[in-house]
């Protein structure tokens, strides 16, 4: 290297959206393909982002490729806008996309990037939900080779995945898949809907909002377009069940803050060692508290 070379210290700024424009364009092309083939895992080149693989780099690349000055962004992690990772991602977008508005209110956002949850409040046609994905392929639990998985997807051969469910019922009388529930999109491709709880899976079905799923490390983008079939993989005679928040007597636990009995709850021990429940979706919980409309 040239001995006289100096680091360009004054040139430390980044362009709008961090990624170079060619990269953003490529991501957008892949998003279009993903929408055109619902549930198909579209490979893309996935750039390195300044946060770790697994921290939402796939979702972030989608967000940065789509976001413009007119957008309002909401970022959530584990249902909360204020969790460490959500704050980190939001700050990064604010830093690299000056002029973009951020919000914690679900209804105000045009783009929502989320890890592990879909907001309780129904989304609209004007919104895009971007889910961060660690494992894009639902078949990975039964087939390690990606080349073979691609063939199985192409032929919609999900028999081995169903055998796993069969074995679960045989041994436990229950399907043991808790989150990342395999979900069939538009009658063909089965997706890993990201580690959302089963509670959120029905929200994908005929969703008014476009749902985009981005896996940065595994370099895949896939989509559940608006008004598209999204059916959890089950047997004809065994119903898909979401998480059960009833106590031993059958009474539904309520959020200790807003009193909601219709939301996904986080369970934890309080200082007195008592088990308490609270809405996982913090924005929803706050709104319930303010309007006092919770059941």
């Amino acid at each position: 290297m040239n001995e006289n070379y100096e680091l360009p210290l004054e040139d430390a700024g980044y362009s709008f959206g961090f990624l170079d424009e060619y990269a953003k364009k490529e991501v957008r092309r892949c998003i279009l393909k993903a929408i055109a083939i619902p549930g198909y895992q579209t490979p893309y080149a996935s750039r390195e982002m300044p946060m770790g693989r697994g921290f939402g780099t796939g979702g972030l690349q989608i967000t940065l490729s789509l976001i413009g000055f007119q957008d309002t962004l909401k970022v959530i992690d584990q249902g909360s806008d204020d969790s460490v990772n959500a704050v980190n991602l939001r700050q990064f977008v604010q830093l690299t996309c000056p002029g973009v508005d951020v919000t914690e209110k679900t209804e105000e956002a045009s783009l929502l990037q989320s890890r592990h949850r879909i907001p309780e409040k129904p989304l609209t046609q004007a919104q895009i939900l971007i889910l961060q994905v660690p494992y894009p392929d639902a078949l990975v639990v039964v087939e390690a080779s990606e080349a073979r998985r691609k063939i199985m997807h192409a032929e919609a051969d999900y028999s081995r995945l169903l055998v796993k469910l069969y074995e679960d019922i045989v041994h436990f009388d229950e399907i043991t898949i808790s989150h990342r529930y395999p979900t069939r999109i538009n009658g063909h491709y089965v997706i890993d809907p990201s580690p959302i709880p089963r509670w959120d899976v029905p929200k994908l079905h005929q969703s008014k909002a476009l749902v985009l799923l981005g896996a940065g490390r595994e370099k895949k983008i896939y989509a559940v377009p608006p008004y598209t079939l999204a059916e959890p993989l089950v047997f004809d005679d065994i119903a898909f069940r979401v998480e059960d928040f009833r106590d031993a007597t059958g009474v539904r636990h309520a959020c200790r803050c807003c009193g909601s009995t219709v939301s996904f709850l986080d369970e934890f021990s309080n200082d007195q060692g008592m088990v308490a429940y609270q809405c996982s979706d913090s924005a929803y919980c706050e709104e319930q508290q303010q309007t006092g409309s919770a059941a």
Partner: protein, 277 residues
């Protein structure tokens, strides 16, 4: 009326690059299937036969004779160097070797059955016996859990596997019982064509006899056409109406099994029959 289910013409498989002299300088008369000029192995050459609905065809020969190679090609485990095979499936007719990979997989999963000598080839030892059968049923688009359980139970009882063992892993089973589960699995989709490759080899004599009885019963009940590959004349005698005798990749004799046993024409067949008596 006997209906043809499979027609095999000129089926050949050469391992290696091959040369124009390969097939002329190998075979029983040269006592080898290795080409002296290019070193290629002529695993099978110019195999021809027909198979009819409900019929059991035997293929007998020593190891390296080409009997397993023949079945592997028909089951798409290996691709032929040349030749045709036509599968008559009801009103449909399929040229097996011009099917694409997806069509071949679909054919294997839904219309053919295979029972291997080694149960590890045919069974998934990570799941239960019932799960193994469920997999086949699920491939043919049955998605009703209770119905899958009922069908799997039925198949296991039919192959005389105790229902109490349905939810156990087949790796804990005896060799004979593993073969029964394999047969149940192969029959799950009621395939019109079943391949059996040395399925009784290595089992106790009494267990062998019971499995062979089971195969005959199934043939009677389901009218399944079968190709039975074996080196054991006893198996052929009991199961096969017609037999191909193979040596060094060639069919050296074929016809009704009784006739071959009573009046073997080829010197090799004569030795084979004599040694078994």
């Amino acid at each position: 009326m006997s209906r043809k289910i499979l027609e095999v013409r000129g089926l050949s498989r050469i391992h290696g690059k091959g040369c124009p002299l390969c097939t002329q300088h190998t075979g029983p008369e040269f006592d080898t299937n290795i080409c002296p000029f290019c070193g290629s192995v002529v695993a099978a050459h110019d195999i021809n036969f027909d198979l009819y609905r409900g019929e059991i065809l035997g293929i007998i020969g020593e190891s390296g004779s080409g009997k397993s190679s023949t079945v592997k090609m028909l089951y798409f485990d290996d691709a032929p160097t040349s030749g045709q095979a036509t599968f008559f499936d009801g009103a449909e007719q399929h040229d097996l070797f011009s099917l694409n990979a997806a069509q071949q997989r679909s054919m294997r999963n839904k219309r053919f059955g295979m029972v291997y000598q080694n149960p590890h080839m045919g069974l998934n030892f990570q799941i239960s016996a019932g799960g193994n059968i469920a997999e086949r049923l699920l491939m043919s688009d049955l998605k009703h859990y209770a119905e899958i359980r009922r069908r799997a139970g039925e198949l296991l009882s039919r192959t005389e596997v105790s229902l109490a063992r349905m939810d156990q892993n087949p790796k804990t089973f005896s060799g004979g019982m593993q073969q029964r589960v394999q047969i149940a699995k192969a029959l799950a989709t009621r395939p019109p064509l079943l391949f059996l490759d040395e399925v009784t080899t290595g089992l106790d004599l009494s267990v062998q006899a019971a499995i062979l009885d089971l195969i005959l019963e199934i043939q009677n009940e389901l009218d399944t056409a079968m190709i039975v590959v074996t080196h054991d004349l006893g198996v052929i005698r009991l199961l096969a109406g017609r037999t191909l005798v193979m040596k060094h990749g060639r069919v050296i004799e074929s016809g009704l099994t009784d006739q071959i046993l009573e009046d073997p024409q080829h010197a090799y067949t004569q030795r084979l029959v004599a040694s078994a008596l």
